[in-house]
Symmetry: none
DNA sequence: GATGAATGAGCGTTCATTCAT
DNA sequence: CATGAATGAACGCTCATTCAT
């Protein structure tokens, strides 16, 4: 994979994360990347393709850091949950509650009319719920309770909804409170 | 208020709910309402103004049916919670899990660059959390537990996140499961 | 002539004088006159017709006050010239150098593509030059000098050009200086 | 500067000179230049920007040919005046008295509502009066008379007013007569 | 590989005028 | 007489994409 191509993806990712896909114009990307139109269309067949690559880029980070790095580690399930929630909080704290979740944003912005984006986002949520569900399973050994998949889905939904409200209020405290509830949801499941 | 104006708002509301604000072109609205450009601008000063009216339109329904009709009724808090969750489920079932929550959609689509939309959405969430929190207070009399406001916020986040995932998966079952968790979140708070 | 019609002309005249013909929208006129579209089109067949009436309205004032009231009076030619120049200065002083000459404005704004406007403006200038020329003739009895018509035309041109520069600079002093030169131009002709 | 850009400016200049700024539609320019909308907006950010460039284009010609080429030359003041007046006459003769003065036209069409245009026109008039005043000063050494600046302003006003009347009458003779008066105004100052 | 000039369908908006009541 | 809803052509402008060099 060309290095320039990766650089373009990274630059576009930052723009799309903070401004949204439609609202990030190709000219914004070209300017930020300091390249011409010809170079862009040499690396990508369309803005749409770049968008999918950007989604992949975010997915790779999320997969490496959270799904693999945290949820698939050798630590105790409790520690894994803790670290995941901590990761979420830190991620949005560093962006000052401004960006929202890129997957949720894309889900709502483009899912409806673009099956390719929709599919990718669905895979992210599915995999997240799946991995989380396995961790919950570890915790739940021998205990009664709801289906771990459903709880995992609930935790993801709670986090996504929390991020949405946090972004709308521009207040990181919303997310902190939500994560506390996520902990309890897991504990009482 | 003119009847035609109301009709345009209603038609636009349906389009915006299912396609999003930016992706609903003025020409879509004109075609659906069978009117000309001039007539549109006779009733509205801009697409933006229409968008705000559409948000008001949804808020009025939500306020009348849920915030006032259900959460402010004389029934038991348990019944009110039940009816609210039921309303949410029915609302999205009737739309076949296709639209998502109009407030959440707008929140993510426009919050960032349009303060007017952002403010209206914030008010909806705030009022919903506030009313729900009062109901939770009624239920919690004498009991220990988390702050009702935070739990209410969590319930709203859970529902919003659940609707987002439901829409992305195009599967109403997601929402059913999420609402079950919402019940438990309230019960164990 | 209907009184309402006259009222509309007067209101439109004020708007057109200060904002120009094209830049005065029909809706501005309707609002200022507090009438509906139907009433307007009852009295006038088009904006264009109103424009011509407005030009007539200004011409009537100019004719009554200057061409007849001053230039055709029984006073000495010197007094008549003096009063005419004084009238010009007072007219623009009261409007704070903001409007320019309505005839000059229309001449430049519409002459090119609208023969009807062009013709009316031409008549105003012709009649002004003509009347002024007669006064100059009275003064010149027995003296040598340029043709009075040409001097009259020069005085009118000087005044119009002076008003143009005055408006552009938004400075009434320009006009004062110009009128001094007009006096000398007449004296030395 | 791109050659195409210059070509567009030149074509637009001819249209705007003869039809006015507002009355020259973008589509007229595109058609005359045989280009598409996209190309236009590749070179200019707006019609407004083009308008200012067109004004600059005319100013450069005027500055090079008249302000510098004639008024700042080493010839006698009398010759300079003569050549300037001759330039004005030839300029309008070649355009068959149809266009008027572009600076005067813009002054009256846009001065009021567009400060950028107004400022540029003001600078043209100021510089013209200034340069002319210096020439008049040369002529006046040792003689009594009015302030040269005021006379210069009067000459410019006379010319501008004369062009206006010439355009309205579509008759170059008006301008010839006016220029004769301008000569006398200078001689008797 | 790389440039940026060129394309053109589509956007939201304006506004004089017409027409049903 | 009067209303104001309705029309629709035209406007300036956007922007992803294509193409000649």
């Amino acid at each position: 994979m060309s290095q320039k191509r990766q650089e373009i993806i990274k630059i576009a990712a930052a723009l799309i994360e903070s401004k949204g896909y439609e609202n990030t114009k190709l000219s914004d990307i070209l300017e930020a990347a300091a390249i011409g139109k010809g170079q862009f269309y040499h690396y990508f067949s369309s803005k749409h393709e770049l968008g999918l690559e950007v989604l992949d880029y975010f997915y790779e980070i999320f997969d490496r850091e959270v799904l693999e790095g945290i949820l698939s580690s050798k630590k105790s399930p409790e520690a894994k949950i803790n670290e995941m929630l901590q990761w979420v909080l830190e991620n949005h704290t560093s962006k000052q509650a401004r960006c929202g979740c890129i997957f949720g944003n894309i889900a709502l912005e483009l899912s409806e009319h673009d099956p390719a984006f929709s599919k990718k986002v669905r895979e992210v949520f599915d995999k997240w719920i799946d991995k989380l569900s396995i961790v919950l399973e570890e915790m739940a050994r021998g205990k009664e309770g709801s289906s771990c998949v459903e709880v995992a889905q609930g935790v993801v939904a709670l986090i996504e909804g929390g991020i949405m409200i946090m972004k709308n209020k521009q207040d990181i405290k919303v997310l902190e409170d939500i994560l506390t509830l996520a902990r309890r949801m897991i504990a009482t499941s």
